[in-house]
Symmetry: C2
Subunit: 338 residues, 2 copies
C-alpha cells in the first residue's frame, strides 16, 4: 500500500469547455486520523456530470470547488485505520473522499456497504445517487403512469438506463434518445426501450420528426438529462398536461448552442399546459430507503441491468471525465483507484 | 331595439402587432331562433388577452377565429325571444355570443345570471373567467401558502387584482408589478399589495434589483400574466423550490423582445428546482362552484374590490382591445353594447 496521498485538484476554472489543463495531480504524506476519525483508501471513484458545475464559480445549487482544492466526488473506499467507534479496518464504505487515493472522514454522511449484497460499484451507480435520481425523477417529479409515453434522453447513461427500465416495468411506451448506433442498439436489446433514436448529427427538426413518429399518441413525460438540441426537439411533441423532469443539461454545461428563443419556450409551456420541474437529487435523500426497497431486489435477481465504463487509475480521471461530458462513456463512469 | 345584427369580424390576421385594420364591422338582418334556440341581445362584451391568440393561425390551445368570422368573446346578454324551454324573454345570461350585438344560442355552455346577487358585469370579471383564473392559479397551480412571498404581474388587471387580494388574505407578502404610477398606487392603497413596482421604462436588471429589495426572503410563488422583461426580471429572484404559475404572456403576443437565452431559462429552472406550470382556465371549469362559494360572498360584502374600464358601443371594441394589449385598461375591460 502506498504511503503517499494522491489527489487531483482543480488547477483552474474552465472558460468554456473544460480541458486537461484544468486539473493537476498533487502528492502529499498520508494523513493520520484523529480521535473520532478514520482513514480510508479509495477503491472506486464515481464520475458524474454534476461535477462540471462544481468547476465553475457561477451560481449553482452547491458551492463550487475552490481552485487548488481536491475535486469533489463519491467513492467506494476501504477503511485502513479507524479511531471512530462506528468503523473498523476492512469496512467498505460509501464516502465523499473526492478525486483522491485516500481520505480522512469523521463518518458524517458515510454509509457502510455490504459487499455480499451486490457488487460494491452499484453503490455509485444503479443503487446509488444516479439510481435514486432515476427513481425520484420518474415517480415523484414526472409522475409517470402506466399507459403513458415517456422520452428519456441520455437513455443508456447511469441515470437514463434505469429510468428506461423502470418505465418499461410500469407499462409505459419508452422512447430513448442516445448518442450513436451502438448505444441505441443496447437500449432496445438490453434495456427494453421500445425504440431509441440516435441524436448524433441530427438537428432539432429531424429529431423532432422522428420523435413524433415514435410517439403516435404524443409524449406525456420527458426525463431530461441533456438539454440542447434534444430538449428543443422533444418540447413540441409534448402532450397537453405533459410533465418534464429536468434533471440535467450536460449539453449546455459547456456552452452548446440553443435555437429556441425565450417566448417560444414559455409559450410552449403555457399553450401545452406543461409542468416543468427542476430537481436535484440532494434534496431527495429521504427517498433512499423506499428506492432501495424496490430496486435493490431487481438488481440482485438480474431484472434490472446496468453497465459500467471503467477508467484505470486515479490519473486517468480527468480524461475520463472529459469523455463523459462528451457522451463517450457507456453506462456508469467509474475510476478504479485502489 | 334595432332590427339589425351588428358584428365585428376578423378582417385579416395580424403580421405582428394587431391594428384596427384587422377588424371589420358587418351588418345583417336579425336572425330568428329555431326550435330549441333563443335570440339574445348583448348588454356587455368582455375583452380578454386570450383573444389575441385567436387572431393568429399559429398553434395554440384553441382553434383560431377564421378570417371573416365573428370575433369570439363572452357576453352578458338579455334573452329577447326564446324557443328554448330553459330560457325566457328577459333572462340575463352569460353566453359566448362574440363581438356582436345579438346572437342565437341553443343554451350549451350558457349560464343564467341573477342580477340581484351582484352587478351583472362581475360575471365577466371578478366572478367570471378572470376571477376563476386568479383563484385556480393561486391555489391549484402556484400552491401559494401563508407566510410566503408572491409576485403578481399585471397586478391591477382583471386577473392580477384578484390574485393580489386573495394572496393578501392568505397572509402572504404580496409584491405587484404594474405599468405606471397610478396603477401602482391603486394596487397598494386599494388592493392591499405590500408594494407595487412600476415596470414602465424599467429594464430587466433594474426591475430585478427592485424585486430583490422588495422580497428580502426571496420569491416563493410567481403569478405570471405578461412575459417579457417582467418574467426575466423575476426569474433570478425565485427561491429554491419556487413555483411559477404561467397564465399569460401578453408582452410576447405581439413580439416583444426577449433577452434570456434558452440555456439560462432551463438552467434557472434546474438549479433553483422550480416548478413551472402553464395553465389555461378552460381546463378548470370544474372548480367554478368552489371558487364562487369562496369569492362571491367577499365581493358582495365589499371585502374584494374590482375595477372596470368601459368602452361605449360595439364599434369601440377593436380600439379598446388594442389598448388592452398595451396595458391601457385599468382593471377589467368591458364594452357596453346594449
Amino acid at each position: 500500500m502506498t504511503e503517499t496521498l494522491h489527489r487531483i485538484v482543480l488547477a483552474s476554472r474552465p472558460e468554456h469547455k473544460p480541458g486537461l489543463d484544468n486539473f493537476r495531480m498533487e502528492e502529499s504524506a498520508l494523513p493520520e486520523p484523529a480521535a473520532g476519525q478514520f482513514l480510508a483508501r479509495t477503491l472506486w471513484l464515481s464520475l458524474d456530470p454534476y461535477m462540471r458545475g462544481r468547476m465553475s464559480a457561477a451560481r449553482s445549487y452547491a458551492k463550487p470547488v475552490e481552485v487548488g482544492a481536491t475535486m469533489e466526488g463519491a467513492c467506494v473506499a476501504e477503511v485502513v485505520t479507524s479511531r471512530h467507534p462506528g468503523f473498523a479496518a476492512g469496512d467498505i464504505v460509501l464516502a465523499q473522499l473526492g478525486w483522491a487515493s485516500h481520505g480522512i472522514s469523521d463518518g458524517a454522511g458515510v454509509r457502510k456497504i455490504d459487499p455480499a449484497a451486490a457488487p460494491v460499484t452499484t453503490a455509485l451507480g444503479v443503487l446509488g445517487m444516479p439510481g435514486l435520481t432515476a427513481w425520484v425523477g420518474l415517480n415523484d417529479i414526472a409522475g409517470a403512469r402506466a399507459g403513458e409515453t415517456i422520452v428519456v434522453s441520455a437513455a443508456t447513461g447511469a441515470v437514463g438506463s434505469l429510468v428506461g427500465q423502470l418505465a418499461r416495468r410500469k407499462g409505459m411506451r419508452v422512447i430513448g434518445i442516445a448518442g450513436g448506433a451502438e448505444k441505441c442498439a443496447y437500449a432496445v436489446a438490453e434495456l427494453g426501450y421500445d425504440i431509441c433514436l440516435d441524436h448524433h448529427g441530427a438537428d432539432a427538426r429531424r429529431l423532432g420528426a422522428q420523435i413524433a413518429e415514435a410517439a403516435p399518441n404524443g409524449v406525456d413525460a420527458y426525463f431530461e438529462n441533456v438539454g440542447g438540441t434534444v430538449l428543443e426537439a422533444v418540447l413540441p411533441a409534448m402532450n397537453t398536461h405533459g410533465r418534464i423532469a429536468l434533471c440535467g443539461m450536460i449539453a449546455w454545461y459547456s456552452g452548446a448552442p440553443a435555437a429556441l428563443p425565450a417566448p417560444a419556450i414559455w409559450g410552449a409551456i403555457l399553450r401545452q399546459r406543461l409542468r416543468v420541474q427542476g430537481f436535484i437529487i440532494f434534496d431527495h435523500w429521504n427517498r433512499l430507503p423506499a428506492f432501495l426497497a424496490e430496486v435493490a431486489p431487481l438488481v440482485k435477481d438480474g431484472s434490472i441491468r446496468y453497465r459500467e465504463t471503467v477508467a484505470e487509475g486515479l490519473d486517468a480521471a480527468p480524461a475520463a471525465f472529459l469523455r463523459l461530458l462528451e457522451g463517450g462513456n457507456f453506462g456508469k463512469q467509474l475510476v478504479r483507484v485502489g
